[in-house]
Symmetry: C2
Subunit: 174 residues, 2 copies
DNA sequence: GCGGGCATGTAACTAGTTACATGATTTT
DNA sequence: AAAATCATGTAACTAGTTACATGCCCGC
């Protein structure tokens, strides 16, 4: 159950409404770390408010409610981040696909690998472009920190390089 | 619902029993790609057998049943791997933790980052050692292919390098 | 013959998704 | 005035986990 911690982390950076949190999951977080739709987020915020981890700090137009972390919530987040990671849950469909490649004929595997190399290269290039153009776009209240942005970028590059390595290897064998 | 595809992929490499599949998830797959316990795997194998994607090829001691993919199962696996990846589900607690670091005080974040750097470095070193010592240990029927092994190794190294970068960055700021 | 690992399963629960639903405000 | 988007929610379903349960075989 990592969703509440994800929400605590986002709200610790800046208070937001459930709707805004949903968009963060759609755009950034959901791509790398954790997915959640608004139908999970709204009930979870209510539960967390009951427990005193977050609180509504203001209500806006269209019934929107802005949440912020309480001291108790911040303490819980800190405990979670500083406590030993144990063996966290992992579930990543893209990675699963890569692991299954060895079950394909080399010709088929090459098709998939070339696609992976191309798309990850394109994404990495775009992330790099955004970072260069507006170094603060991913920082501060809007984004989720430069640490995370850099992590995402390196992730894509690592996958791209791996795919290139795998292609070369398969082609040599063929 | 990627579990059936994971099972198809593993069985496509080599027929195995549910028990053996469970161990693969515990050791290798679960660390990087997809987690599943035996209580998910057994019922899923039965469902897949009903659908004709897999079949029991032999029964051994203690009621063990060895499954193999059918032609239909192999076709389904191929379709899945070659079809556009859309936006696969991602849920990775470790990565979530990294994304949440910017919500911590720099001093706390440094503690976590140093731990990440140390543990990923140790794991990467060990993976590299295993690969050097027995290049075939991770290949063939036992493991899940050198492609996947290399992917795992690069993954750990990428995280380690990112953590080192982040530490240096935070220390410069402080 | 007994202890530990092999091997499979079921039931109750938890987390998250999909589909459905509603209404308010802003934009065109 | 209509369309788009903001903003929240509920209900039914699906996937996976935790806890519980059972029996068999091999090595000692």
């Amino acid at each position: 159950m990592s969703l509440p911690h994800a929400l605590l982390g986002l709200l610790a950076v800046q208070p937001r409404s459930g709707y805004e949190l949903t968009k963060v999951f759609e755009q950034d977080l959901g791509r790398y770390a954790w997915q959640a739709g608004h139908t999970s987020i709204y009930p979870e915020l209510n539960r967390m408010a009951e427990k005193g981890l977050v609180e509504v700090t203001s209500e806006g137009a269209r019934g929107s409610r802005t949440y912020a972390v309480t001291d108790e919530g911040r303490a819980e987040l800190r405990t979670w981040l500083l406590s030993p990671p144990s063996q966290g849950k992992v579930r990543n469909e893209q990675v699963l696909r890569m692991f299954m490649l060895s079950a394909l004929e080399p010709a088929d595997a090459l098709v998939v690998l070339r696609r992976i190399e191309e798309t990850t290269d394109r994404t990495a290039a775009e992330l790099r472009r955004v970072r260069e153009a507006e170094p603060d776009a991913l920082t501060g209240p809007e984004g989720f920190g430069q640490l995370a942005a850099e992590y995402g970028l390196r992730q894509y590059e690592a996958v791209r390089d791996w795919a290139a390595w795998a292609i070369e290897r398969l082609e040599r064998e063929a």
